[in-house]
């Protein structure tokens, strides 16, 4: 079986990926499950994994790429250890989503959709997180809600995540 041959040291990952793929070989319907678990394994979905998954499930790369780019859940670029999700729901938007994003940008030097060079943070914009009373709000790592944000608080909050 072909493995990644570009010397990137992905061989062990390839083996683990194949373990995820194996139950779904020849089954296009397993795409979402395989993509989900592949992302859990690698942290994101690099191109070679999409090709490997497409071949194994019997899908065109176009189909796999279409699904992987449709869902915001999947990422094709490396993600940081911590995910900052800034809420852009109506209440937060009115109360200062732009200020929050601008402050984080100033502090970390990344735009939404990007990851810091030290792989510490990934910044993204999300729709209403249901914490309108705390607007403007953000969630870190999908669980820690930080609300009623003021510009000067933000660096301190980020300090808590190594």
């Amino acid at each position: 079986m072909a493995t990644c041959s570009c010397g990137c040291g992905e061989d062990e990952l390839t083996k683990q990926l194949d373990k995820i793929i194996d139950p779904y070989r020849g089954q296009p319907g397993g795409l979402i499950q395989v993509l989900t678990r592949a992302q859990e394994l690698i942290g994101y979905l690099p191109k070679w994994t999409l090709i490997r998954i497409a071949k194994a499930l019997g899908l065109s790369l176009q189909d796999v790429y279409g699904v992987a780019t449709f869902y915001a859940f999947f990422s094709l670029i490396p993600r940081g250890r911590h995910k900052i999700s800034v809420c852009a729901g109506t209440a937060c938007y009115v109360k200062g989503t732009n200020m929050v994003v601008k402050t984080i940008r100033g502090h970390l030097g990344i735009k939404p959709g990007q990851t810091t060079p030290d792989s510490r943070f990934t910044l993204e914009i999300v729709r209403c997180i249901g914490a309108c009373g705390l607007a403007p709000a953000m969630i870190i790592d999908g669980k820690d809600v930080h609300g009623r944000l003021e510009p000067e608080q933000i660096p301190q909050i980020l300090e808590q995540y190594a």
Partner: protein, 577 residues
């Protein structure tokens, strides 16, 4: 049956009929954009919305099934206002380049804008900025003009089963393209151009090579010759307003002469030659236990498909080049010698119903004459454009004859243009060559028609020859998978890339649909019946070619000039990261 009322008229239709189809029965044409009968029925664009009594919101007529007692209104002020709004929203992200657009006056979006009297677009905002992909020698993608109707995706995925393009990203960023917005030239796209045939705008269109031909025609040092594919004589009329299925053979020849071509030749000639070479190859394979079934190799989209998706079956393909490339190789050798012209000065143009032919002529192995055998391929659409530019309404020209010798052909060559034609032409010749007897009935009607997979057994002397014929690549897969599984006992298979064969090729006039395909097919067989000679082996110019130049079928010269080889390709990029 279900009875409903549309615009105050009662109509009874079968259960499962859509509102759109029911309205059609009443002569009401509900406007559509993304809808394409039998190909794309997804209700994406919402132009076809109608009012249904009792429904909370407008209903898209193209996908909504009728119900008993339903009361539909298709043209209330509210409906028309909604359609206008939808159009304005589509146009708000459309480059307003109609005057300089290749689909000017043949664009479904433009027609709708005109019909709805859109004189201004109230919405201004960001515009799609994905770059144009002109990497392919055949097809251009211009995402700026895409209305995301997904017709191209449907035809590529469901009809051709190539899957070279798909929707990616979402919302405003949605893009129809190969994965990673890779260039068409670098992926498993077979260049068939069916996408360009169904695109309502110019988001996918053929590469326009007309300028290169105008320049060659104006160059006094060039001897410019042209060949016309079998299907083009039942197509080109349509590009200047003639009814679908109009036969314009003689006028096409006259028009090409008036454009300034030095010689007007015919691909039908090398279609006849293909039959001699391919027929002999088939008999040889049967006699010597060669790879069977043997599959035809005239259709460059099919060839590329086989290379990407069935590389293990390449030995089944006939080694014969397509008629276009046989012609190209002979034009710069045999014809050049005969006419005493330096092949370096010959500029060889071909008129094809096909975009894949543009790709085929650039394949590196297609240089048997020592030069690029065919210099430029123009689709029927492009030739129509040249006629318009020259002010030639060819339908009013007197009929003229093709030039000898490469313009002499038979009905067998002509029927190459329709699905089943190559098979029928081959049977006419193989039967007589094997049995030495004249065919009692020259018409193999079992080969004809639009059916996806046609099968038959034809008695040729002692040998029952099992044949199969497919059109559209999705249908080809059915037969190819049988071969892979070892379940196919055919001797000979004809595979044509495009639905209906070449008369429905990706370079055909727009629109091309099932009804129009059938008309063109009828025209092809009418043209066959008109010919004095209808069997390839009776073509005197082909006989002379063997006597003077090639010597014998499958001989040394044939192998050098008329046969080719294929390249194994993958349908995935390499996994290297």
């Amino acid at each position: 049956m279900i009875t409903l009322t549309i615009d105050n008229q009662k109509v009874a239709v079968e259960e499962g009929t859509t509102i759109l189809e029911a309205a059609e029965k009443l002569g009401i044409k509900i406007p559509t954009l993304c809808y394409l009968k039998e190909i794309n029925v997804i209700g994406a664009c919402r132009i076809c919305v109608v009012e249904v009594q009792g429904a909370k919101a407008f209903v898209p007529a193209c996908v909504a099934p009728v119900a008993e007692g339903m009361v539909v209104r298709t043209n209330t002020p509210a409906v028309i206002k909604a359609r206008k709004l939808i159009l304005e929203l589509i146009l708000s992200d459309h480059p307003m380049e109609c005057l300089t657009c290749v689909r000017n006056q043949n664009c479904e979006l433009q027609k709708l804008a005109e019909a709805f009297g859109i004189t201004e677009v109230r919405f201004e905002g960001e515009k799609t900025s994905y770059p144009i992909d002109d990497s392919s020698p055949a097809i251009v993608r211009d995402p700026r003009k895409c209305v995301l109707c997904r017709r191209c995706v449907s035809v590529c995925t469901n009809i051709q089963t190539v899957n070279a393009i798909q929707a990616q990203e979402r919302g405003f960023n949605t893009l129809i393209a190969p994965a990673f917005n890779e260039k068409l030239a670098n992926v498993e796209c077979v260049q068939c151009g069916q996408c360009s045939l169904v695109c309502p705008t110019a988001a996918i269109h053929e590469v326009d090579d007309t300028q290169r031909v105008w320049e060659a025609l104006a160059d006094p040092n060039k001897h410019v010759i042209v060949q016309t594919a079998p299907a083009t004589r039942v197509q080109v009329g349509e590009t200047i307003g003639a009814e679908p299925g109009s036969i314009v053979t003689g006028q096409l020849v006259a028009g090409l002469r008036r454009l300034g071509f030095d010689k007007v030749f015919d691909t039908d000639f090398t279609a006849d030659l293909t039959i001699i070479e391919e027929g002999n190859e088939l008999l040889e394979r049967i006699k010597t236990g060669g790879t069977l079934p043997m599959i035809t190799s005239c259709s460059p989209g099919w060839i590329k498909f086989a290379e990407h998706f069935y590389p293990d079956l390449l030995p089944h393909l006939s080694t014969c080049k397509s008629p276009q490339q046989m012609f190209g190789a002979l034009a710069k050798t045999y014809y050049a010698q005969k006419a005493g012209i330096d092949p370096a000065n010959i500029f060889s143009v071909s008129i094809m119903p096909c975009t894949a032919k543009k790709y085929e002529c650039t394949r590196p192995e297609m240089k048997s004459s020592g030069y690029q055998d065919v210099d430029v391929v123009l689709t029927s659409r492009e030739l129509g454009r040249m006629f318009k530019q020259a002010g030639l309404d060819i339908t009013n020209l007197p009929e003229e004859e093709y030039d000898p010798p490469l313009g002499i052909s038979t009905g067998a060559g002509e029927i190459f243009g329709a699905s089943g034609g190559v098979m029928e032409a081959a049977l006419r010749t193989v039967y007589e060559v094997v049995t030495g007897k004249e065919l009692p009935n020259i018409n193999f009607t079992e080969c004809r028609g639009l059916t996806g997979v046609k099968e038959a057994t034809v008695q040729v002397g002692d040998l029952p020859v099992k044949i199969a014929i497919t059109n559209g690549l999705g249908n080809a897969r059915k037969v190819l998978d049988k071969i892979r599984a070892g379940e196919a006992d055919y001797h000979f298979i004809e595979i044509m890339c495009c639905p209906g064969g070449c008369i429905g090729g990706g370079g055909s006039p727009i629109p091309t649909n099932t009804e129009i395909r059938l008309k063109r097919i009828d025209a092809v067989y009418t043209e066959d019946e008109r010919m004095t000679l209808r069997k390839s082996h009776e073509n005197p110019a082909v006989q002379e070619l063997y006597k003077e130049f090639l010597e014998k079928p499958l001989g040394h010269k044939s192998h050098e000039l008329l046969h080719t080889h294929y390249t194994k390709r993958s349908n995935y990029p390499s996994e290297e990261c």
